[in-house]
Symmetry: C2
Subunit: 236 residues, 2 copies
């Protein structure tokens, strides 16, 4: 049975972090909510069942349903060789992923600082202030941390953990894709001080399965409905 990934059909969003792991693993999966009636099925699954998810994405593997991006990646990482096998390494990998999740939430809040229930246009003054903070303080602080993690990896600075690819490498790639789309000027500036992050971003894009995925119709283009939105006024 292929995995079924449930996520909003028209955006990359948080589903993309899961999708990149599934693509790199080369495993069979279905973008279930992009099928006919898929969104209705997704919403029903959130209303029913013993383990309802608070929000998409969630992954169905036979009878198991798992929500929360980082929990899904914890599950897939162990099953598809995208995480170290030793418990301490697995936990460190997960810790990095959770920090990426915090970064993604902050990126989202630049255009929704007041609340997800309101349109961007109705919170624009707040968004301008929050985006300035994000560009000037948060992007550099997070990138500096990832750069440090890469620099201190005793197996070399080509990966966040160990000498092989792990799922946070894929997620950091996705964050850099998103930031480069949403904040091209601020991100280019920050990347000049984080050469290892820039190199990892480039290397992931060249991995054969990722390269093929990015060129496929399965990869939805960034747009102004997702987490990373290009509102030029927010790039300063």
């Amino acid at each position: 049975m292929p995995y079924e990934l449930y996520y909003w059909p028209n955006i990359q969003g948080r589903g993309e972090f899961v999708r990149l792991a599934l693509e790199e693993a080369g495993t069979d999966y279905i973008n279930a909510a992009r099928e006919s009636e898929g969104v209705a099925v997704m919403l029903r699954m959130m209303e029913h069942g013993e383990h309802p998810s608070f929000a998409p994405p969630f992954l169905k593997d036979d009878e198991t349903v798992i929500g929360q991006t980082a929990a899904i990646l914890l599950y897939l990482g162990a099953r598809h060789g995208l995480a170290p096998k030793d418990p301490a390494g697995g936990l460190w990998t997960h810790q990095i992923q959770l920090t990426i999740g915090d970064f993604v939430a902050e990126a989202h809040d630049t255009h929704h600082p007041v609340g997800v229930g309101l349109y961007y246009e109705d919170q624009k003054p707040e968004a301008l202030r929050r985006a300035k903070e994000f560009r000037e303080n948060r992007i550099p602080k997070f990138l500096d941390w990832f750069e440090t993690v890469l620099a201190r990896n005793p197996s070399g600075d080509g990966h966040l953990v160990g000498e092989q690819l792990t799922y946070p490498d894929l997620s950091l790639f996705q964050v850099m894709e998103g930031l480069s789309y949403a904040f091209p000027k601020a991100t280019a500036r920050a990347l000049r001080k984080a050469p290892r992050v820039a190199a990892l971003h480039n290397a992931i894009a060249e991995r054969p399965r990722i390269k093929a995925y990015l060129a496929s119709p399965r990869r939805i283009p960034f747009n102004e409905e997702g987490i990373f939105r290009r509102y030029p006024e927010l790039d300063g």
Copy 2:
């Protein structure tokens, strides 16, 4: 060797979620950053070492250092019987914890919607709008989800997972403590529609080790430096 918990010494903050698990486990631990020079040691540990944490809390267990609240609880849960032993149950427990983490982040952002680098007083108009959204939409939505999880637990509605205490039970207790402090009116209203959450909150407070902890000087009172702050204007 006792565990060493590193967290800002004057607030409950995210460290409290870890502290409650350590207290309930009845294991030896040190609030390391409350010791003399403790904050300096904490900051040095964030600057150095192979696995630096982006932010506190982090836990030191002999040579292992773990950051990110949910990752620390994943680790402690497995070691101290605060999580199911089967992998699917462990993952569901973690999924709930990650959702609690999202809720905590939103609670924090009510008083810091623009950025952590600015004072509350410098983002008060934004805070008023964000808090309204949080009170009216987000608290009810999250509590409804926890209520549903409790109601659907096949082992009974006294716990989030299975028939015994797990670490998200303790964390949900802490969230309800914090919300009741910060938003007493809005929280009382929301709890009337979430009787199982209210009952769990009360039951955790009566557990002998938690009750002793709450009455001890180790429990720092809520204050206006932490995640949950009582600014009456934000309670509507």
